[in-house]
């Protein structure tokens, strides 16, 4: 049976916080002498080196993966200053392997993806692999190519879920942890295999508004034109803002009104935030949009935004229940990892506690930990999880692990 111990600390000092989180997590384990993996998230103002040193000293050779984000999610609350840690003891016949690839923005993204997959698969010969969990410390310029490279080695239908763990404002304060090391401008991942099952769900709660538009020219994550007009005109028309004002405020406004990309065969629109407007009127998005895509302007209310949480969790539970790998007779235990977009945090503002209440209510007895992200990596819906992985904005995603 999967042994799970989750610990949290909001101590001011990084070392003390890491110590307290470890101590609490160990206390929640049935057998603290058998720890197979440590999963950690902390708010970005902590000293990453201090945290890594403490983990190295107190957990020695336990494989560790995680990173820093703008805020962490624990059962106690949502904290802009905190560290949350899960220590996992695997059941017999369950395995994992951790790996990382560095300097991804300086190298060929496809090669980087392939390299990470190779490292992750190391030692998984003859062992059925079930899921990959990936963390980026910032946005990857060639995101789709990276994923393509990853899938080249892992397999096109191999399910992956992940998140971009950038800090809220200062991207230089974004770190990833892998074992005893601290990384920057990297991707770290873990592959699970054997007698361990998963269910995942992802929803955003935004609805399309207005008529569809055609993306007439794009390069990666930059939309040059929509309906053969400069892309920024889409927002100028809908928001009735003059170009100067729009350029200044579009990053913030697009949190409330992102672009929804219609994906044929998928239930939900894929959301894209606009991070900036180029002088020629092109929109720089947080994630790529294929040329020829049909897009809509999206809108949400706090209610629909929050309603996405139970929908995502329900979907994850449905996936888990329908998993062919699941051993229904076994006495299993579960835990969940949740990723929520920082855009949701900014949108919900003072009602952010509601997000935690929805998570707790929907997960029931399942213990969880999570982090706010700058983008999530997952299939659009569970039915297609054996297919395309997308980079999402503004979503709430959940991974339930059972073993």
């Amino acid at each position: 049976m999967l042994d799970i111990g989750i610990g949290f600390s909001s101590e001011e000092n990084a070392v003390l916080a890491a110590e307290e989180a470890i101590w609490k997590a160990k206390d929640n384990l049935n057998n603290s002498s058998k720890i197979d993996l440590a999963l950690v998230f902390n708010s970005s103002e902590f000293s990453a080196a201090g945290i890594a040193r403490t983990f190295s000293a107190l957990l020695s050779d336990v494989p560790l993966i995680g990173g820093s984000g703008p805020a962490v999610i624990s059962e106690k609350g949502i904290y802009k200053h905190g560290i949350v840690l899960a220590l996992l003891g695997f059941p017999e016949g369950a395995y994992c392997n951790t790996a990382a690839t560095r300097d991804i923005n300086e190298k060929n993204p496809f090669t980087c993806g392939k390299e990470l997959a190779e490292k992750l698969l190391f030692g998984f010969k003859n062992i059925p692999r079930n899921l990959g969990l990936l963390f980026f410390d910032r946005l990857i310029d060639g995101g789709p190519n990276f994923i393509a490279g990853l899938q080249e080695n892992l397999g096109k239908s191999f399910p992956c879920i992940g998140a971009s763990l950038s800090g809220q404002n200062d991207l230089t304060r974004s770190f990833l942890y892998l074992n005893n090391e601290v990384f920057n401008n990297s991707c770290a991942g873990v592959i699970w295999g054997g007698k361990i099952t998963f269910g995942m769900g992802i929803k955003h709660g935004w609805k399309p508004l207005g008529k569809p538009h055609l993306v007439s020219s794009t390069v990666g994550n930059i939309i040059n034109s929509i309906d053969d007009k400069p892309a920024v005109e889409l927002y100028e028309e809908y928001l009735a803002y003059d170009p100067v004002k729009l350029k200044k405020s579009l990053k913030k406004l697009s949190v409330s009104y992102p672009i929804g990309v219609f994906i044929p065969g998928e239930e939900e629109y894929l959301l894209r935030n606009v991070t900036s407007v180029e002088d020629r009127g092109a929109l720089v998005c947080q994630g790529s949009i294929p040329e020829g895509s049909t897009i809509r302007l999206m809108i949400s209310t706090k209610e629909t935004c929050l309603a996405a949480i139970p929908q995502a969790i329900k979907e994850a539970q449905k996936t888990l229940d329908g998993s062919l790998l699941r051993q229904s007779n076994a006495r299993n235990s579960k835990f969940a990892i949740v990723f929520s977009s920082i855009s949701r945090y900014n949108l919900l503002r003072r009602d952010i506690k509601e997000e935690l209440n929805f998570i707790k209510k929907s997960l029931g007895e399942i213990p969880f930990l999570g982090v706010y992200t700058h983008g999530e990596l997952a299939p659009l819906i569970e039915s297609s999880y054996r297919g395309q992985i997308y980079f999402h904005n503004q979503d709430f995603s959940v991974l339930i692990i059972e073993g």
């Binding site: 200053h81 508004l209 207005g210 990053k251 409330s256 003072r350």
Partner: protein
């Protein structure tokens, strides 16, 4: 006659007519569909226009909601911060209470505070949040170099911010550069007394928009800081004054203790002197009285009438002198604690009755009506019988002396842990000015009547000493022409 050609032409015409009808029908359908498409397109465009209206309304609503949320959060934070700042009474602690989390809740990431030291004539850095030490020092240097501008800014008592369009001493663009922020609020810290200063808060987040509400909020915070600094200063001042006062009281107490010791020594010397002199006086007095008594007894022969009369006076005055010396000795002994009181439960009624019997002749001579009253089940007091009897004799004798005729009464009242005894007369009374010194040795009220009444001025002093030795109190109430009441207390035996 129809020829073949005509027939064919007719058939052709019929064919065309047959073909035209479906074509016409299809054209109608196409037109209808085209109309529907146009209608749908129009509806879609209309819907899109409505969508634009929805988005614009939603933006306004979100903006209002966001501003409201921000204000609520900021006010809540300001309230918490004010409470924290006000809770400290140490000037050095006021700025330490402002933490980065509070600043973040107010929507800022950086803060600096300076106080101007009037003596040193320079700004002192008191708070630095979100800045590296080196960066803060660099900004301080800039402030010091532009001291006059910033002092003028403080004197203007007005906040400036990155939204301000009005002219301000800290030019917006320059301020952003110097303080390395994208938006800011800069406000003076004003206290009624003492140092004035500057509070700077800034944001390096491009999404932060400074509003007039922020200006007001930071101004309130600066005022709170000013108030807290003033409170701390006042507390420090009061505490210092309190310390000074305590020091002075201590010094004065030491002086007084020293003086008291001196007085005690002098008093002791006086008592010793009185005691010695009294003893020295009593020896010859005993001889004088002895010889006078022998002579008066006639054992040495009969004395002429005149001599007998004079010897009688010598004897009487010797008695008075002996009494005076004895009183002096007793007073001296009691004050110096040389007398051991023989304390035992005592029924005061018996004592009063005995004294009344003893003085019955004098009451009769002066036609004084004597009465006494006692509470039922009167408890006993813890006292020395002979000393208390002496108190009653002295007080009642005193009343007899100053009551030409009238009433003297002794009333006993039971209190909580003691008994109060009032010796009241309807005599001549005394002025209020005399009452303070009444129990002082050798003091006699300055009045015409007193010149005719003999007295040593030791009786009441002796009474006071005896009562004090019993841990009781004595006081007097009197009114000229209305009489006098001496009251004293004695502790209960049980």
């Amino acid at each position: 006659m129809f020829n073949v050609n005509s027939l064919l032409a007719l058939l052709g015409l019929l064919g065309v007519i047959v073909m035209i009808f479906p074509l016409l029908s299809k054209e109608t359908k196409i037109k209808s569909l085209q109309t529907s498409v146009n209608n749908l397109k129009k509806a879609l465009d209309e819907m899109d226009e409505q969508a634009k209206l929805i988005v614009r309304t939603d933006i306004e609503l979100n903006k209002a909601q966001e501003e409201l949320d921000r204000k609520i959060t900021s006010l809540y934070t300001l309230q918490k911060l004010s409470r924290t700042i006000s809770s400290t009474l140490e000037e050095s602690q006021v700025f330490k209470k402002i933490e980065l989390t509070y600043l973040a809740d107010l929507g800022f990431q950086k803060a600096l505070a300076f106080l101007f030291d009037e003596k040193e004539e320079k700004f002192l850095l008191r708070l630095s949040l979100g800045y590296e030490e080196e960066e803060a020092a660099k900004i301080k240097t800039f402030i010091d170099l532009n001291k006059a501008t910033y002092l003028e800014f403080i004197r203007n008592e007005k906040a400036v911010s990155s939204i301000a369009t009005r002219e301000n001493p800290a030019d917006t663009k320059k301020t952003k550069e110097i303080f390395n922020v994208l938006s800011f609020v800069f406000t003076p810290i004003l206290a009624k007394e003492g140092d004035h200063g500057l509070l700077f808060v800034g944001a390096d987040n491009p999404d932060t928009t400074i509003t007039e509400g922020d200006e007001e909020l930071i101004t309130i915070l600066a005022n709170q800081i000013g108030q807290a600094l003033e409170n701390a200063r006042l507390f420090e001042k009061t505490w210092q004054a309190h310390q000074d006062l305590e020091k002075r009281v201590e010094e004065r107490t030491r002086e007084l203790s020293k003086a008291l010791e001196e007085v005690k020594k002098i008093n002791q010397r006086k008592n010793d002197f009185v005691s010695n002199v009294s003893h020295e006086l009593r020896t010859p007095l005993t001889s004088i009285k002895g010889y006078a008594a022998i002579l008066l007894s006639g054992k040495l022969g009969a004395l002429p009438e005149d001599v007998h009369k004079r010897l009688g006076k010598i004897n009487k005055h010797s008695d008075e002198l002996v009494q005076f010396v004895n009183d002096l000795l007793d007073l001296s002994r009691i004050e110096s604690g040389k007398v051991d009181l023989k304390l035992s439960p005592l029924n005061l009624k018996n004592v009063v009755d005995e004294v009344a019997d003893l003085l019955a002749v004098q009451f009769k001579e002066k036609q004084i009506e004597f009465s006494s009253s006692f509470p039922e089940n009167m408890p006993e007091v813890m006292a020395d019988y002979s000393q208390i009897k002496r108190v009653f004799i002295n007080l009642i004798n005193n009343s007899i002396k100053y009551t030409p005729s009238g009433k003297i009464s002794v009333n006993l009242i039971k209190q909580d842990k003691e008994i109060q005894i009032d010796v009241q007369d309807t005599g001549c009374g005394m002025p209020e000015t005399a009452m303070d010194k009444l129990f002082t040795e050798f003091y006699r009220v300055d009045s015409v009547m007193n010149q005719e009444i003999k007295g040593t001025g030791l009786g009441l002093a002796l009474v006071k000493s005896i009562i004090a030795a019993h841990k009781g109190k004595i006081w007097v109430k009197s009114k000229v022409g209305a009489g006098t009441t001496f009251s004293f207390t004695l502790p209960l035996a049980y």
